[in-house]
Structure formats: structure tokens, C-alpha cells
Symmetry: D2
Subunit: 503 residues, 4 copies
């Protein structure tokens, strides 16, 4: 087995023994994320990305040869060498959603690697600044060979939204350099909504918006181990999160969940060789654009995978009460399929129509129009899919008794009697499937994250508006309207006000 | 003060002292629903319907003179005496949503009273069976004078959905009479999704579908106190319910919630004077139709009221980060308003266009077409309103730290620093508003119940299809198409196959 | 019969003999609109509003007592004396759509009368300028007693859209006073999109937007006979209009259509007693607001009536090929019904919830929020209804042979053979119904006018945003979020940058 | 120049001189389609597919080497040799929409060729019937070398829709063999909605549905020259078609249009070597499935190309009145782009994810799921794009004067004065662009054909439901819900009615 490929267990073991990171959950410091009831589902979900490299149905997709490491690596740490890699990404993500039933949290770090590969190389090509690329490639090899679990941290807390970083009342509202030293830099600030942050080995930090010269201390990118001095993580709450702390095994299904957290950097030291961009304010916008398109494409895979789970659950629930073959139920299932496959197909187009941005190997980027289309679909369709799933599932989705009632000595039998539908399934089957549907179709991963991950809907609209060639389509329309012909006819020349009109 | 009007505190006191009912929450028997952490938010929400009769902004709406009690009663126990009462209903419900931020659970019982008023009177008028009406009026007076808190129980557990009650493998899949005695009847079965069931004084039971003669033991309606021997309630789980059990004051906002439960009747005795329909299988369908239109109309009020809360929360969150005046944010807020007011206006139409179904006083029913339109809108628009609210609120909606982090000695200050937007609001303000939005826009009350309450979307479609006059519009179309003229022209008479064609 | 009520024939006769108006159709002057092939369908549609006062099914709705004329008048020239009149309006409009299958063009004049009733009375009440009201009441009586056909002209051509009237390069881009005389005023400019303009007796002109003092020469309202010196009408084209010029009887079905036109005023003299507003720039915005809400409400009636025709046609076409009972066809028909009744119910709410704006009799205005909701629904749902109708109708809707093929000696029999579906209907039946559906569901009246009539979608959005009480819902949300409590906790007070942060 | 590539002029010349075909337009026989005013726009649009092979911007896309002809051929007659050809198809179609502003009518024939390539080869491979393939390849060479213009004819008139061909009251409701001769077969029936049928050299006929053994005389495929004895074409009407017969140059813009027609076969003789399938009832369904997926994919190209034209026109009209930079206008333009690119990206996915169905060269089929997704999007989004375009264009879209008014001596100057917006554009510019938008966004090609081409929406739903793997997603959901565990717990085993319950 290649050294670059860890098993899921190896990942868990690694995370368990790293214990200096200051992680808070529900107001309490966590010392072992692998046993903490709140975070364990996240660890298991992240773990699935490692196991995928060894499981039969994903093995081929989940590992790929890296020319940088000179060996097979986990695809989640790989650089895309062609459209087929971009396609493999969305296919792998769809399959991992099937295994986890939630977000598996490893895409941001992956997209960060590919983004920095392009941006640092561009900085070398266009600005002659080769040091960033050198630092990055060294880091890439390090990450690939150790098969590290990475988070990517882009979104700053942003304070007053319309103000630029340098205009904020709180100067730390965006992560910035507060000190430059011979051996590195010292940074301060906070990154919000960081997926999987509490259960990774390292985090790659990037700027979150285009910047002006005045913002240059904010135009920085670097990577640090999570247990670096000065790093604090405050894990965010999620829908139904408190159920994880119960003793149950059904009401919190599926067993895996993602988490997001607030990453706080209090004067954290970063050595120079971990710095990939420093005060390069002109390139901050480029970096964001490259990253966000990568990340928007990815949603095609994971969200349609989650959609599959939701469709499967709705279909099974329809069977449990004997209505799966009713026309209106089939109509709704088909609509869910249609919405789900639309998202996926846009992501495939974004992948197949990828383009190469840099010289030499790799540097394949997604097609930005279709990547934005993908994500924009994802900001809408999951709510529709959820609604249809809830429709099929029946009102019991919002009123079902707890598993503790089912197991209760006195009322358990009654619950079992009255929750059963067709004889082929038990009340427990029904409860299990209802809970799975509840916790997938009404989850942060499927709803809020679908809206905001990789940028809010407005961000995609701005991108699509910018990418679309209005100039050319206007020219086409003018040509079809034969607008050029007007010059021949003086009668219809632009009207000039007469004296009487001017009066 | 009229004897018929209780204060909220009097309601709570009454519920507290009633303690024989067997109520289960999360697998445990509850002895005092008013102090149980899971159910207390429901008690408070129900309580708001009593307080409304004394609060300045709702006093006039919430009380109304009853000719049956001969005094002012709480509107929630009143019979509609004209369209103005139907309008008052939706206006009152909208206001109560503002006070509670959730479902206040008292509509089903109210709609049950109005339904039984009509159906029992019809049974007297059409079938000459006056006993039901006599029983009902006596019960109505009793309820009005004591200002009782009622639940209505219609939805059976239904077992194998496409089968009729008499065809079910489990004969108790629909509530039925198992014994007829001199002094009353004995019933068995279970009702699902019963709103507010654990915090009421009495429950009114009704059949849930049209029936055939074979189903006649299922065609029954009656009322019983909740603490009747043989009654068990298993309270259902809800999104984020476990947060209610925490010590916090923010993460579970608002402080009020509804609940639904499974009502189980194990051979429960009902005296004859509490029976409002007995083996009247021909009238089961009528009863369901009357009830469901009433209940569908009501959603105009409560769901648009919840929509107001969600719009208010989204608007405030936009202000907290300084974007409330951005065009795309205003566009989204306006869209939410449009969707919300569409639902409400359909409900107003259903009320103003109400019709009288029985002789004598009262018996005003809603316009069934617009009532169905209302509810059908409600099965769709809340998901859209939620999506837009989530869009405006930002990703933090799904990733915000807990209140315990904010209050933590070590990280509280950091959280406070980094969650703040504009200076006018604190991080706590932001957290409070995010939690309110989370727990309203992603609640059973606003989503699942909007789909399934008063019948699933398909139920409204069947109603609308049946009510709409396809025959007449076809005739109109034929007339405009001058279709009658064809007879004049033999050339276009229906084609008859020739011998050659038959070959 | 009351003198104030003309029959349709009397209207046609009146229009026919008025022949001085300069009307252009397809580049040619028209001298008799009642025989002109292009305009005759418009005359017939307008005529239906007169006939309605005598036809059994509309007689009661279409006539109403007027205290101004002291007799029964056609409702289309009446002032609303209460909510019941507003309700009668939408009910009448729905029925007239059934009779015409198109826009019948008499609402704008009607809404203009009601608007001027309120605005001139307000000008008397608030500004003490009683002359406008006096002029208007005199004119109202005149119109009511003669049962005149009125057009209302509001929309100016507007030139450069974002500029105010006084800022336009073309000063005539909005209608204005160019001369003030002792006996009246002289006006110039043009009004666009004027419904029914070529077939009316008189036209009431109103300003089209809020104005500033600099725009005061544009802030005018008045009425003139259509055949006034200086008036030119250029009739606009419509979809499929050229078919009206053919000899056929099927392809252009239904037989009635509306038209819009460009009304050009070249230094037209208006006597003082026909002036209802003169340089009252402060009141221009009010007038537009009052008018547009009236007109937006009306769409509930006429567009849902057209929707009925389209549903009827689609239903019949489904029957013609034997699929009317297929689940997916019924699903689509039901969806059409739902969309159609949603529009209608919003209009009913706007009517029932109307309010009185002036002292004394009349002056009942619609509820502006629901009127805007109505129109905004109308800007969306008809396209959806059309799409569903096209779906049901089959591809033949866009490919059916002409009636001339059906009547052709050589191919007629073949067409008759192959276009027939079930034996109960002939090919001609099918062609007739397809053409009816084509010319209703893809008409200016149902599509473009639904978007733009009474203001474009953005106009309604601005209105809804302004009417909705964001302040109050924010307060409600703050209250539910217990936001006031924050003051107790100094830890979460607004963050102030430390010296280090300021560095 | 390759012999296999004709110029547009050569195509026109060829069509002109072929004059035996019996073609009817508006009830009259047409002898020269190239000069007939109704059909000329169709000829010009078809011609564009030939010119594309010589025009710089499409030359590379529009020609491709054919191993069958052994030379470069027009892509519209080519067999797909890999995914890149499928991608080239949608890219070429998008560009041709830009050149024509309408449907260019050559895709059905193309898709028919590729379908028959696969199906005849399959018949050889699976059934050992090599004759069909031999016939087809010979025909393919013939078509490619002469660069013939083909129509494809699939849709039968279908009579009573739910009945199978053999059950129809009219046995000719589906095209069938009525005689088998030594030298060929004789066929009878009619095909409806045949795109471009009046302006092609030959037509390829295919069955339109899956069949049973009883329907075997209907399970046939063959090709004939259009001017074969017994062939009659009745051209269908279209929106605004009569404008083509006017003398104008603006109101009917663009200058190109498609047409569809009814193809009637009255006992037409087909020689054996032109027969590609004969009584192969088991293969009729396969053929339809292969063809329809091909054709559904294609809509991604042509409809998004038309969408570009509509977006360009709307954008220009916004500029003409000075509002192109207003937020709400940009919002709408961006929404149009999003919808348009969604359709396109699904088609790209269907192409890139194509699969090979037969041995040897070629036989690349599209991915059927994404092809169905593409078409299903196309049945919805164009109506939305049109609505948005109409919103931006303003009401004038439905009310603009004719070009004849603009050119009129008396009113032309007035029209010119009042229709102008910003000084950079004239009234004629505005009229031209409005007419282009009217005739593209409200055309059969963009609306009705988008719904029904390549099968109605229901056809795609049936396909998507069949293709999607419900079994697997249910298994995934069961696995995530840990449903297998229930066996361990006897308490929740399926409920069995007790004796008491059975009572």
C-alpha cells in the first residue's frame, strides 16, 4: 500500500492523538474529538473519505497517481490533471454522500490546494514571484504523502458587510498580518463557517474577496497545523444537534454529520515556507474566483448524492404505507429525480468543459459558467426536493414519537402497533426511515449550506452576469433585427426637438 | 368579566391540576405538563390564546358573544355567525402568530366545533336525527362556559393507506366502536399528528375519510376529557426539541412551540351524550369536507403571521450586517412579502365568500375553493420564504456558536468580537435573531405542518378538481370556438373507415 | 329602460357615425371602425360590455343605481359605493371574459372615473380647490346618462425612462400643457398602450407618475371626445392580427379581440370644464397610486376569466383525443385551476378589504396590498397556465393546418380523416378548439398585457415594499428574540477595538 | 471542395427544381417553395445549415469526416463517432440559432440517421438480420455524398390516444404497411408535426411508439424522396404567419422561420432497399427510445441559442430606454442567463457522458438521463425566459404600431418622434428589436415546440422514472437508516392482530 494513503482508522487515530488544539463545543473545551458525542459524527463522516480509497465501489475513484508525490494519493489531496479528474471529483462526491448521508467536509481543503496550485503558479508566470509556488509545491507533497486531513478557510467574519477590510470599524473583521518577522508572519482575525475545522490536521487559509491596495495586509494565504499556538475553534450548532448527546440510536440518524466552526487566530505565527500569498492584493480576487468556481462545481456531486438519499428515503416511506405506485406519488418522485439530476448534469458540464489555466502539468479549472449554474441550482432545488419528500413522507415526519417511546415497556407495543404500515415493514423501520429523512432533508448540510456554501446566491449571479457575453448576444440580436439598415432612411433618424417642442 | 373567559394563568392552572392523563415524552411519563421542559413551550403557546382575550391589541378580536352560552366567549370556542367571524378568525390567527412565533394549537378544536355544529344540524335537517345536534349543543355550551382548551382529533394512523378501514389487516388502524352499551360506547384505535394534545382539557374525535357501509363502525364522532381511562398520549419529537431540555435561553428561541402527539384509545368508554355521530357512514365524508375547508382557511392567518416573524427576523439580520438597503436584499424581502400576502389574501377571500350551510343561526362555512387554494399555497410558499430568509441571513444561520460559547469565560469575548456586525447591535443580538429565525423558518410548524396540516397537497388538489366546474368552462370554450357550427358541413363529419382502410 | 343604458347595437351605431377621429391601422386611415376587419373584433368585444346589461346571466351585475345620474347606469361607468361594488367588479369582469375570450377594454375608463372621483374630492377636501370636483361630477353625469364608451390614457411614451418629464431631451415625451387660454388649455404629447382607444367615444387623460415642481406642466388630467381636432390614433399590432384580414372563420377564433393604440395629441384644445387637474404636481403621484391599485385589482376578474376559457379549451382538447381522465392530464388541469383561482381570490380580498378614502358617498378604494398581490400574481401565473395548456393540447397546437386546407377540395378529406381523435368530435371541432386556445393562451391580452397592464412587475414590487410594515414585523421579531435583554450583560456589549487591534 | 458539401444556394436550387411534391399552404398548392412567401423563411433557415459549412465561425463545427462516404460531409448528415461529436452537435446548434433566430429544421433527419445506424446494427447483432443495416448504410452514403436535406417523420396522428395502433377505430391512425410486394412495400397513414417537411429532399419515416405483436404492420421504417407518388404535405400555420405575406420587412422579423407539416402517405410504394425495419415490432420501442434521447439532447443547443437571441434583444431594448443598468433589470437578465445556461449545461452533460451502443465504429448515443433532463428543462424554462424578456421589453411589445405606420407620410414622423428612447437609437431601431423579440419569444419554435418536440413532458418523466435507479437509492437509504438491525428486537416485529382486535 502506498504511504500516501491512510485508512479511516489511521485518520481517526491521528486526530485523536493531536490534542493541543483549543476546540469548544457548546461552551466546553473538547480534548478528544473522536469520542466527543457532538463531534464524533463529524469524525466518522470525514473518515469515510479515507475509507473510500479502500472500499471496492470507490477505490478507483478515490485514489489517483500524483506526479508531485510520485505515488498514488487520496484524490481529496490531488491536483486535477485534466477534465477527467474534474469529472471524477463530482462522481466521487456523489458516492460519498451515499456512504455518509451528509457533508464529508474534505472538499474545501481539496479545492484550496487546486486553487493555490493555479494562483501560485500564475504569480510565478505573470509576476515572476516563484517563491509562493515553491512553498506551495513543498506543502502539497507534504500533505499528499502524509494523506493529511485539510480544512480550507476562506470566509471572514466580515463585520459591516458593505465595507472593505481596511474600512471596517473592527480591523480584525478580516484576517490580516499584524507583524512581519524574519522567520515568518503573525496573523490575526477569524474565519467563519469553516467546514470540518475541528477534525482536521491542518487548515489552509485564503482571502475572501477582491481587494484594493489599502487592504494589502489582508491579502494573504498560508497553511498551519490546527494545533498551532493561538488557534481557537468554536464549533457551531446545527439542527437537531442535541440529539447526538442522547443515548439513542435512531432519532439522530444518520450516524454521520458535518460541522462548521469559527476559526479564531489570535496572533498566530506562520513560518515563511507556509506562506502562499503575502500582501498580493491584486491576486486576492483571482484566488477567490478560482476557488469559488471549483467549490461551486463540487456541489453537483455531494448535493445530488444527498438528494439520492432523500429520494430513496421518500420512496421507501411510500412503500411502507403502500402508496409507492400511486400516480401522484410517482409524479413527485420523478420531479425529485429531475431536480436532482439537473444539478448533477450542470456539474458534469462544468467538469467536462474545464480549461487549463497554467503552463505545464495540471492547473485544470472548471468551466466557470456551468460551475456557477450548478451552485445556483443548488441554492434552490434542495428546498424543492425537501418539500416533495416531506409531502410523500406524510405528517408523521414532524410528529413521530421518539425511539425511547418505541422502546418503553408500557407504550412501546402501542407505538409499534400503530406506526406500522404494510406488513413487510415494522414501526421501527418506519421510525428509522423518518428520522433519516428528517435529519437529511432538514439539515444544515442540505439546506443552509446549499444556499451559502461557496458563496451566497448573489455571488453566483454576479459571476454569471460577468461571464455571459451580453455584447455578443446583443450583436446577434441586432443582426437578426437588421438594425444596421436604418441609416438608409432619413425619416427615422433620431428625433431632434423643434423650436415649438422646446418652448 | 364573563365566566366564559379564562385568563392564560387560569388555563395553566387548570392543565396543571389535571394529572391523570397518561402522557409520554421521550419515553417517559409526564405528570405535570406545565413544568416539563419539553412541553412547557407548548403550554405557553396555548396560553397565548387565552391571554389574547385580555390583551389590548387582540381583545376585540379574541372574544365574541355566543348566543349558545348567552355571554362573551373566547373566539376559539365560538360558532361562526357570518362572514365577519370567518374574517376575524384569520386576522386573530395572524396576530397570535406574532405573539407566539409558532403554532398555538387551538384551531383544530375550534374547527371541530364548527364542523360538528353544521354536521349534527344537517343530520337533524336531512335525516331527522336530532339527538346528535342536541348532544352537541349541550357540549358546546359546556365548553364555552368553562372556556375549555380543546384538541381536535381526525387523522387516523391509517395502516395500509390505500385500504378502507374495514379492509385493513389491523382493524384498529382507524378508530372504531368495539362495544355498544346502554350508557354509551367503547372505542379503540389511535389518532396521529394531534396538535396540542398533551396540553388540552378535552379532545373532540372525528372520522378522517369518506366511508362505505362496511366501515360503519368507524363512522363515529365524540368528545372526551383527556384524562379519561384508557387514553394514552405519546408526544412526538420536533426539530431541535432537545434544546428545550438545555439550560439555555437563546438557542431554543422563541420560547413557545407547538407539539403534536399520538392519541391512543384503548377501549375507552364514551357516554351517549358525548356522541355526535354514530355509525353514520354516509356523513363521514361530509364531515371531513366541512372540517378540512375550515382548517385550510385558517392557515392563511397563522402561516402568514409566522411569515411576518420570519420576514422581520431576516430584515433585522440584514440590518445587523448593514445590507438591508441593498437592491438584491430588498428584492428578496419584497418577494417574501408577496408570497406571504398571497397566502393571506386567499384566506380572506375564503372567509368573505363564506356561505351558510344550515338553517337558523350560524353555520357559516368558508368558501371551499378559496380555502383549498389557501392551503395549497401554504404547502408551497413557506419553503420559498424560508429559502429567501436563509439567503438573507447568511451562512452563520447554520454555523453560529451556541449561547454557551458566548457566555464562556475564555472564548465568550472572542465570539462577541467576531459575531458583531454594525455597531448598533451586539453579537448576542445577532445570535438571538439567528436562533429565532432558525427555530421558526426551519420548524415543524412552518414546514412539515404547512405541507400536511388539514390534509396533504393531494387532498386539496382532489378538492379543487371536484369543486371547479369543468363542464361549464368547457361549454364556454365550445361557445367561443363556435363548435356548434360543424353540423352544417358534412365534409368534416366524423370519419368512417372505408373498406380499404379496414383491410 | 333607463336612458343611461345603451344596448350593444346602440354603442356600435354611435361609434360608426362618429367619423372625424384620425385612426390609423397598418399604415392606413380607417373611416369606419365597425367594419374595418382589423378593428371589428375590438368593437365586438367592447360591445359585450353594453350587452351584458341586458343579458340574463350578467344583467344584475352589469347595471347599478347611480346617485349622480339618479338612475341605473352601466356598471362600467359607475362609482364604487362600497366593498360589494368592488366585489361585483371582479365578478362581472370574470363573466365578461367568458363572453369575449379576450380583453373587453372598458376597465381603464372605469378605473379613471373612480380615481378622479377620489382625487378631485381630495383636492377639494385637502386643498380647498373645489373646481376639479365640480367639473368631474358634471362630466360623470354626462358620461353615465349617455352611457359613453370611455378609454383611460395614463402611460406616456416616457422617452428616456430614468429621466423626469422636465429632464427629457424630448419635452413632449410626457403629455403637457403648451398653452393656457381663457377658455381652456392646449396640450401636446402622446400616450402609449391605450386599450380600446380606437373604438371609444371619449378618452380620459391622466398623468403617469409622481412629479416634482419642475414637472408641473405635466401634472394634468382632462377628458376629450376622441374626434377632437388634433387627436391621432395609431393602432398597435397584435399577435396573429393579420389573420383577421383573411376570409376565414376558424383560424382567427375567438371572434373578439382587444387592441391598444398610440394616442397622439398635437396641440389639442381642452375647455376648462373638462379639466380635472391642472399643474397639481403634488397630486400626480397620488392619482397614479389610486388608479393603479384599482386597475391591478381588476385583473383578478378578467385574467381568471380568460384562464377559465383556456382551461375549458384544454379540457376539451384532452377529451377530443381521449386522455381527459389520465392522471397526469388531471394533474395539469388541477394545477391550472389552482393558479387561476389564486389570482381570483387575491382580487376578492382586495375588494372585500376595500377602504373609504373620502367623505360623503362613494370613494371606496381597494385594499392596495392585495391589489398589488393580485397583479403581481397575474404577471407570473398566466405564462404557467399557458404552458400547461400547451402541454395538454399537444404539438398540433403549433402545427395544425389552416381552415383553408380543411375546406380544400383535394386535401380537405385527408385533413378531416387524420385530425380526428375520438369519434364524438370532428377534425373541424379539433381545429376550432386549437385555434381558440392558440389565440387566447398566446395573446397579447393574456401574456404581455398581464405583465405590463397597470404597471410592470417592478411597480407592484415597489408598492408592496412600501405598504408592508417592516418596522412592525422587525419589532415583533425582536420581541420574540428577547433582544431587549442584552443590556443586562456587559460582556456582549458592542466591541470596541483595542489599541492592538487599531495597530 | 468535397462533393459531399453543398452550399446553401445549391440546396435552394435543388429544392426549387424538385416540383412534383404535392405541398399545400393555407389551402393552396405550392409549386415553388423557394419563392412562396409563407415557406421562403423556412427555406432560408434550412439553407443556413448548408452555409454553416462554409462560414468562418461555424466551418469547423459544421463539417466532419465520414468514414462511410470517405470524405468530409455536412455534420447534419453525420454519424456520431464519439462524445466529441455529440458535444459538437449542441455547440453547432447553438450557433445556428444565432444565425437564424428560429428552428433550422435539420435535426430530426440527422437524429433519424443516427438512430437507424444503431437500431439496424442492433438488429444485425442481436437478431442476425443484416439486411436492414446493409440498406441503411447504402442510404447513408447516398445522403452524405449528395448532402441531402432530410426530414425525419416519427409522430403519427394517433387518433384515440390511449389505444394501440391495432385497436384504433381508424386503422390508418398510425402509418402501416397495406401491401407487401416483391419489389417493396406499400404504406399508408399520416405523420404529424413534421419539421421542415415541405423544404427537404427526402424524408425518413419511423414508428412512434413501442408495439405489440398485433401492431406489427405498424412497426416499419423507411426513406422516400418527398416527391414520391402518393405523398401530400399540408403545411401547418404558425403564430404571426400571415405577416409573411405582407409587403413588410420589419413586422415579421427575423427573416427566417421554421414550419411543420402534416405528411400524408396515400398508398405510397417503397422499394425494399429503402426499408430499414419491417414488422419488427419488438424493436419499435427501442428505436423510439434511441431517437428521442438524441433529439432531447439537441434542444440544449438550439433552444439556448434562441435564448441568447432573446436575451440580446431584451438587453438592447433595455438600453434603448436607458434602463440596462438598473438593478432589477440586471437581476432579470441574469435570471434569463441562468435559465438558459442550465438548459445548455444539461445538454453538454448528455453529450460528454454519451455511451457506445454497438460494436465497431460509431454508434455513440447520448446519456439518456441527462438528455431527458435537458428536454424537460426545455419544456419549462423558455416560458420563464419569455416572461422575463417581456417584462424588460415593456408593454410596447404588445402594442407597437406597424412598420407601415412608421413609413406612412402623415403619421410616420409622429411615430418616429414618440417611439424613440435614448438618442443613440431611433424609433425604427426600437420597432425592429421589438418585432424580433415578439417573433422569437412568442413563436412556435420557442414555446409550443419546446414543450412538445421530441415528446411531451410526460414522455420525459416516464423516461427519467425508468432510468433512475430507485432500487439502489432505497438500498442506500436503508443502509444509512440501519434498517437491517430491526431483526434483533422482537418487540418491534410486524404487528399481528390479537383476537380482540380481530373481533
Amino acid at each position: 500500500m502506498s504511504m500516501g494513503l491512510r485508512t479511516g482508522d489511521q485518520y481517526v487515530e491521528g486526530i485523536k492523538t493531536r490534542n493541543k488544539a483549543k476546540i469548544y463545543v457548546l461552551g466546553k473545551r473538547v480534548h478528544d474529538v473522536t469520542t466527543n458525542l457532538f463531534l464524533k459524527p463529524s469524525v466518522l463522516s470525514f473518515k469515510a473519505t479515507f475509507d473510500a480509497a479502500f472500499e471496492e465501489d470507490t477505490r478507483d475513484l478515490a485514489r489517483v497517481y500524483s506526479p508531485f508525490a510520485g505515488e498514488e494519493v487520496n484524490r481529496f489531496n490531488s491536483i486535477h490533471m485534466g477534465p477527467q479528474d474534474l469529472v471524477a471529483k463530482v462522481k466521487l462526491l456523489r458516492k460519498l454522500s451515499h456512504k455518509t448521508g451528509t457533508c464529508f467536509q474534505r472538499c474545501v481543503g481539496w479545492d484550496a490546494l487546486n486553487t493555490l496550485y493555479i494562483v501560485t503558479k500564475k504569480l510565478a508566470e505573470k509576476e515572476g514571484k516563484g517563491i509562493y509556488y515553491k512553498n506551495f509545491i513543498k506543502y502539497l507533497e507534504y500533505v499528499q504523502r502524509r494523506d493529511l486531513a485539510l480544512a480550507g478557510a476562506m470566509t471572514d467574519v466580515k463585520g459591516v458587510r458593505p465595507l472593505k477590510p481596511s474600512e471596517q470599524p473592527n480591523p480584525d473583521a478580516y484576517v490580516r498580518v499584524v507583524e512581519e518577522r524574519d522567520d515568518g508572519i503573525v496573523v490575526r482575525g477569524a474565519k467563519a463557517n469553516i467546514t470540518g475545522i475541528a477534525v482536521v490536521d491542518e487548515v489552509v487559509v485564503m482571502p475572501t474577496r477582491a481587494m484594493t491596495e489599502k487592504d494589502e495586509v489582508y491579502a494573504i494565504s498560508f497553511a498551519i497545523p490546527l494545533d498551532t499556538e493561538g488557534v481557537t475553534v468554536v464549533v457551531g450548532r446545527q439542527l437537531n444537534d442535541a440529539r447526538r448527546l442522547e443515548e439513542g440510536e435512531i432519532d439522530g440518524l444518520p450516524y454521520m454529520f458535518n460541522h462548521e466552526g469559527l476559526l479564531i487566530l489570535e496572533d498566530v505565527y506562520v513560518p515563511w515556507d507556509r506562506v502562499f500569498m503575502y500582501r498580493e492584493w491584486k491576486w486576492a480576487g483571482v484566488l477567490v474566483e478560482v476557488f469559488s468556481a471549483y467549490h461551486r462545481q463540487g456541489y453537483a456531486g455531494c448535493k445530488s448524492g444527498l438528494g439520492d438519499v432523500i429520494i430513496g428515503a421518500a420512496y421507501n416511506l411510500a412503500k411502507q404505507i403502500g402508496v409507492a405506485d400511486k400516480p401522484h406519488v410517482r409524479e413527485k418522485l420523478t420531479e425529485m429525480v429531475f431536480l436532482n439530476e439537473t444539478m448533477y448534469s450542470a456539474g458534469l458540464a462544468a467538469s467536462w468543459e474545464g480549461k487549463k489555466l497554467v503552463e505545464g502539468d495540471g492547473g485544470w479549472w472548471v468551466n466557470p459558467m456551468y460551475a456557477n449554474v450548478t451552485k445556483h441550482l443548488v441554492t434552490r432545488f434542495p428546498y424543492e426536493v425537501s418539500r416533495l419528500a416531506h409531502d410523500i413522507a406524510g405528517g408523521l415526519l414532524g410528529t413521530a414519537p421518539s425511539e425511547f417511546d418505541l422502546k418503553n415497556e408500557e407504550v412501546g407495543k402501542l407505538v409499534a402497533k400503530y406506526l406500522q404500515g404494510v406488513p413487510e415493514f415494522t414501526a421501527e423501520d418506519r421510525l428509522r426511515m423518518l428520522r433519516l429523512l428528517e435529519n437529511t432533508s432538514i439539515s444544515v448540510a442540505y439546506l443552509v449550506e446549499s444556499v451559502h456554501g461557496a458563496g451566497s446566491p448573489q455571488a453566483q449571479r454576479i459571476s454569471m452576469e460577468r461571464i455571459y457575453d451580453f455584447y455578443t448576444v446583443e450583436k446577434i440580436a441586432k443582426s437578426l433585427a437588421r438594425m444596421g439598415q436604418r441609416k438608409a432612411d432619413p425619416r427615422v433618424e433620431p428625433h431632434k426637438p423643434t423650436d415649438s417642442e422646446k418652448a
